[in-house]
């Protein structure tokens, strides 16, 4: 039973990871791609790790999986922010159909 629940979580995680990668290919510019990759891959990988935690329980491997979840949630938004800011500062344009760019309007 515990194995089945764990495998369900791992399957959900694999699905979201796949969607994240698909978004990386389909979406038009760097900012939209960061949206897809950051969100989907954070939750997908966390879900896989949580499935591993459920299967292993409070053993060495399970606790390491929990720690990895915490660090992933703390670090992946920061790296996405750094990439987006760096891209904008080095002059990467937004997609041609973008609605508004307040960041460029404010002269950054």
């Amino acid at each position: 039973m515990i194995n089945i629940i764990g495998i369900v979580f791992i399957s959900i995680g694999l699905f979201f990871d796949f969607v994240g990668c698909l978004g990386l290919v389909r979406l038009p510019d760097v900012y939209n791609r960061l949206q897809a990759s950051t969100k989907c891959i954070t939750l997908g990988t966390c879900s896989i790790l949580f499935g591993a935690f459920i299967i292993h329980g409070f053993e060495a491997a399970g606790i390491k999986a929990l720690l990895c979840m915490v660090f992933l949630i703390l670090t992946s938004p920061v790296s996405a922010h750094a990439l987006a800011r760096g891209a904008h500062k080095s002059g990467v344009k937004l997609w041609s159909k973008s609605v508004v760019d307040k960041y460029a309007e404010d002269g950054n």
Binding site: V19, Q35, A60, I63, K64, H81, K102, D106
Partner: protein, 164 residues
């Protein structure tokens, strides 16, 4: 000094979790290494130590976790829908929102929460004036105040109670 103690306890706690099940040799090495780290960088870790004494803040933090997970889950369904949909229904843009939060930790948590919630990605922070620049995959409103209501409001009140 108190900042050093907090860092020391936290570092040892994470070290013990990493080396589960702990034994005496691991504990000794952990104590020594975290002592060195604490001597070098202890003052930088927390600036306002008195905040650790308020139990109400911990309760609000516990409340914040399920709210955050739920928003994160909604974000993933949203992005998955947009990516899989054949017409790619996106209207992206960078909008400006304002925040009343001032401390570094609170702004960091707010920016991270914005990045992991539906359709938004924080691009830059203007700390002096309290503005955040947010990339929005589906711009519903270009106005600063309206965008603030839609993006920031759901987290700001909780984070204010935790970190300010």
């Amino acid at each position: 000094m108190k900042s050093k103690i907090v860092l020391f306890i936290l570092a040892n706690f994470i070290w013990i979790l990493l080396n589960w099940i702990p034994d005496s040799q691991h504990l000794l090495i952990g104590l020594l290494v975290s002592l060195v780290v604490v001597c070098l960088t202890g003052d930088l870790f927390v600036k306002r130590v008195h905040l650790f004494n308020h139990p109400v803040r911990y309760l609000w933090f516990l409340y914040y976790i399920p709210v955050f997970i739920w928003e994160c889950f909604k974000a993933n369904i949203d992005v998955a829908y947009r990516v899989i949909h054949p017409d790619l229904p996106i209207h992206p843009g960078i909008v400006k929102v304002k925040t009343a939060l001032r401390s570094d930790t609170a702004i960091t948590f707010l920016a991270n929460s914005i990045t992991l919630t539906p359709g938004t990605l924080s691009v830059d922070v203007d700390k002096e004036n309290g503005f955040l620049y947010v990339h929005w995959i589906e711009v519903k409103n270009k106005n600063v105040d309206k965008a603030t209501e839609l993006i920031v409001a759901r987290f700001e009140s909780i984070l204010k109670r935790i970190f300010e």
